[in-house]
């Protein structure tokens, strides 16, 4: 891009100038999302989470699995957030227990959004009876409550990270597919897609080159929302006892282990709760930032 296109243009002028007129200030979706306060706050909140994912276990003052004192000991210099139901250091377990939840959530979301986007775009481009039937089949999956569906697989096949990733992805894929199909439907009818087809370009290439770049707005929004939900869902699995096997530290599992002593040693529950809250809040704020930036014209609608 040349330099002038990034030149700041007063917002009022933009309102007045007709769509036909002149170079509108062109900013990428990422660029305009980053200018929004909520996105900035989200990113700031995300920093401690990234630290936990990258370096959490090595920052822990104690071995998260070691018994360092009596059960439910209140915070002290020895254990800053006190101890849990078995006398392990809460702070160390909070620092070490986020990595698994966050990485599994991220991978599940990536897989689910990728599969869902592929399905949605294909359904939009191929259309016809096949597309409709595929979407109705996906509706059947959507009809199941998410948690019930995940619990069904996990209770049948046992608790494994790969299984959690696949099942959560399976739960999201149809919902992502619906949204992406809707977004792509207006794009595949555009003349530039028909032009590309008329040159003999294969459908797969058309999807990749023409359609996908025009739905990055809804795609990034969808990714953010699904990531938020994944974190909550996977933490919920841990709470219900389908997290990693003990004694591995896990935020969801920690809440269920320590909930009985909420009155005596609240930090054993609050620690992981703050972690989960921070993660969902940060991802949600960023997702909303992208959604707003997209609605304000970073996306396809503004460019046409």
């Amino acid at each position: 891009m040349s330099g002038f296109s990034m030149a700041p243009v007063p917002a009022v002028t933009k309102l007045i100038e007709a769509p036909a007129a002149g170079p509108a200030p062109q900013r990428s979706l990422l660029g305009s999302a980053l200018r929004l306060r909520r996105t900035q706050v989200g990113i700031v909140l995300l920093i401690p989470l990234l630290v936990i994912v990258i370096a959490g276990p090595s920052l822990a003052p104690h071995n998260p699995d070691a018994f360092i004192g009596p059960a439910y000991a209140p915070p002290s210099a020895h254990a800053l957030l006190g101890t849990d139901n078995l006398g392990r250091d809460v702070l160390s377990r909070v620092l070490a227990g986020g990595r698994n939840t966050l990485i599994v959530s991220l991978l599940a979301t990536l897989l689910g959004v990728a599969v869902g986007t592929a399905l949605g775009l294909a359904a939009a481009l191929f259309g016809g009876a096949g597309g409709s039937i595929a979407m109705r089949l996906l509706d059947v999956i959507i009809a199941f409550p998410q948690l019930v569906l995940v619990l069904l697989f996990v209770s049948l096949l046992g608790s494994h990270d790969w299984l959690t990733i696949c099942v959560v992805a399976l739960v999201w894929a149809p919902q992502v597919a619906r949204v992406m199909r809707g977004a792509a439907l207006s794009v595949v009818e555009q003349d530039f897609v028909r032009y590309s087809r008329s040159l003999g370009t294969s459908r797969l290439q058309v999807l990749w080159r023409e359609v996908l770049p025009n739905v990055t707005g809804p795609l990034s929004v969808e990714f953010g929302i699904r990531l938020t939900y994944s974190i909550a869902l996977i933490a919920g699995l841990g709470f219900l006892g389908f997290g990693p096997p003990p004694p591995t530290p896990d935020w969801g599992t920690m809440i269920s282990e320590n909930q009985g002593a909420l009155a005596i040693q609240p930090w054993a529950v609050l620690g992981p709760v703050i972690g989960i809250a921070l993660a969902t809040l940060a991802t949600n704020l960023i997702a909303e930032g992208f959604a707003q930036a997209n609605a304000q014209g970073g996306g396809y609608a503004a460019a046409s």
Binding site: V12, A18, A20, G22, P23, Q26, D191, R197, L199, N214
Partner: protein, 600 residues
């Protein structure tokens, strides 16, 4: 005086750039003032200001708008709302969007009657008003919903609503731009009649010189938010002294095979307005002082002309209103000259002697929900020939052209290219056949991927046809665009520039035939002329056959050697352009031809 505007300036914010600047005008009772301007000229802002309405962020910062004695700019919004309909009424460009889709025609009128406080729900007035706009006033019609009306009927209902309260001033914003030529004529005749009968002053905004010529007593040409020229319609349009008026006139297709001349460059955007005459950058007569000094609107003496529209505008012709005013430092009579001759080549091999050389479509049919939208159409396009396919919306012209290009699958019929029968979809045709027959879409805003740069867009043909030596910069040069746009995205380009990129993309395929579907309909007149000029040059230089789809019969005559008129899916006329109006024609074509001449 129903309308008096003095030194009106509308700015963005209160200190931002002026959208319209120092506009003064007056309209007498029964008089129609036509305001002509291209997109960005400020004509719609002017219309809105007359209604006391400013767009987002725009405000009247200087001057005065006086409608029948009321100071519009100084009136508080609540009082202004009461004035609308009684003192000033508005007719919008798109009646379909202006009417409430869930309200019947009768309910629209009853609402107006209630707001005007007419006794007995204005039953009698409603009947009289509908009759005056040429609509039936019976119960059945009043019970119709807007979607049950044709575009012309919808616009007549809007006229009825506007003239209902017999306001002294009616503002019409592009009232016929959504209508086809024949309907447009009828609507304009009603406007003329109502203004004369009710002694209503009207301001009619249009980009189309023909519309203004047809009904306006006086014409005002706007450029860059300022008045360029103002005077009697014939004075301004036939003996215009401002180079922009002359250029605009020369850019209009005149309905015969002749040069139409584009205006180079494009109108200045708000942020680009510099001191001096705003047209100077595009003016072929510009002198150094034009770039420094803002020309004032000054009276000139012109050859005496009789008003084309003979109406009793008593007391106005003698007054200052009849003055011919021009804002140009160096006004001179004349018309701009073409930079190069633009007459299109006639196809080689006259007659249908060698149809195997060209592109032909036989017995094309398209059925859509039990309805034949294209019915048994034959079409022959010789190499380097130019056939214009003319029809109103819904005539099947676009469907036909897309079937030829392989973008739609015909119900039946065959397309042949140089003697070979083509498959029905472009995808099933051979790469070479796809390359030789290119299609340019109507809407340049939809035919270029907004996420790609011009360079990436122009790389598509090379990728599809495995050209090793594609020259995007050369193709841009052929369509008169600088190579500097290569790294721009379409959103940085104007409509005309985008359409030229789309043409460049088609040219890179080195086609033998190009199907151009209404490629100028989204463009301003001056830009349309440059695009048409360009096609003429390319057709000659590159031995290109053109199928030019258009709703504009005048445009068709000015570029094509053969005109095919379609209506309701069938060809009603097909003949060479030379002597087209002399031969035996269908009633529909006769009507089209009549509407063409009526506007001159």
């Amino acid at each position: 005086m129903p309308l008096r505007v003095e030194n009106l300036t509308v700015r963005v914010g209160t200190t931002g750039p002026a959208i319209i600047e120092d506009v003064s005008l007056a309209v007498a009772p029964g008089e129609i003032l036509g305001v002509i301007g291209e997109s960005g000229s400020g004509k719609t802002t002017l219309a809105n200001a007359l209604l006391g309405y400013g767009r987002d962020g725009a405000a009247i910062t200087a001057g005065r708008v006086e409608v029948a004695g009321h100071d519009i700019a100084g009136t508080p919004p609540a009082k202004l709302a009461r004035l609308r309909g009684r003192v000033v009424a508005h007719v919008p460009a798109d009646p379909g969007a202006a009417m409430n889709p869930v309200m019947r025609v009768g309910a629209h009128l009853a609402e107006a009657a209630r707001l005007l406080g007419l006794p007995g729900r204005g039953r009698e007035q409603i009947g009289a008003t509908l009759t005056s706009v040429g609509l039936p006033a019976d119960r059945e019609f009043l019970r119709r919903y807007p979607h049950q009306l044709s575009g012309g009927q919808q616009q007549r209902v809007m006229l009825a609503l506007a003239f209902f309260g017999t306001p002294p001033l009616v503002v019409l914003d592009e009232p016929t731009s959504a209508l086809d030529a024949i309907t447009q004529q009828g609507v304009l005749a009603i406007v003329r009649e109502l203004c004369t009968q009710q002694r209503t002053a009207a301001v009619l905004i249009s980009h189309d010189l023909d519309v203004v010529t047809a009904v306006a007593d006086r014409a005002l040409v706007m450029y860059g938010g300022r008045v360029a020229e103002l005077g009697l319609t014939a004075q301004v349009l036939d003996h215009g002294l401002h180079p922009y008026t002359q250029a605009l006139r020369a850019a209009m297709p005149r309905g015969e095979r002749s040069d139409i001349v584009g205006i180079p460059g494009r109108p200045p955007r708000l942020s680009e307005r510099r001191p001096g005459c705003l047209f100077a950058d595009r003016c072929q007569y510009a002198e150094p002082d034009c770039h420094e000094q803002v020309p004032a609107l000054t009276a000139v003496t012109t050859p005496v002309v009789t008003p084309v529209v003979s109406t009793p505008v008593a007391g106005t012709t003698a007054g200052p209103a009849a003055e011919h005013l021009v804002a140009c430092l160096h006004p001179r009579p004349g018309t701009p000259v073409a930079t190069f001759s633009m007459v299109f080549e006639s196809g080689q091999g006259a007659g249908d002697g060698q149809p195997h050389e060209g592109l032909s479509a036989q017995s094309m049919c398209m059925r859509y929900h039990q309805r034949l939208v294209v019915n048994q159409v034959d079409l022959v396009l010789r190499p380097q020939g130019c056939v214009a396919l003319v029809g109103e919306s819904g005539s099947g012209k676009t469907t036909l052209s897309q079937m030829i290009a392989g973008l739609r699958v015909p119900t039946s019929g065959t397309v042949r290219l140089a003697g070979t029968t083509l498959a029905s979809t472009a995808h099933a045709r051979t790469a070479d056949q796809r390359r030789r027959l290119q299609y340019v879409f109507q809407n340049p805003y939809a035919s270029l991927n907004p996420r790609k740069t011009v360079r990436q867009i122009l790389a598509e043909p090379a990728r599809a046809f495995h050209f090793a030596d594609a020259d995007p910069a050369g193709a841009l040069d052929a369509v008169a665009l600088s190579a500097s746009v290569l790294d721009e995205r379409p959103s940085a380009l104007s409509g005309g520039e985008r359409q030229r990129v789309a043409i460049a993309r088609a040219l890179l395929c080195e086609p033998d035939f190009m199907v151009c579907d209404e490629i100028t309909s989204a463009l301003d007149v001056s830009v349309q002329a440059t695009v048409v000029e360009l096609l003429g040059r390319l057709q000659r230089e590159r031995v290109l056959g053109l199928l030019f789809v258009t709703h504009n019969l005048k445009l068709a005559f000015s570029i094509a050697d053969h005109v095919v008129v379609m209506r309701s899916g069938v060809v009603v006329d097909s003949a060479a352009t030379a002597g087209f109006d002399a031969g035996e024609r269908s009633d529909y074509t006769k009507e089209l031809l009549a509407s063409m001449t009526a506007e001159d």
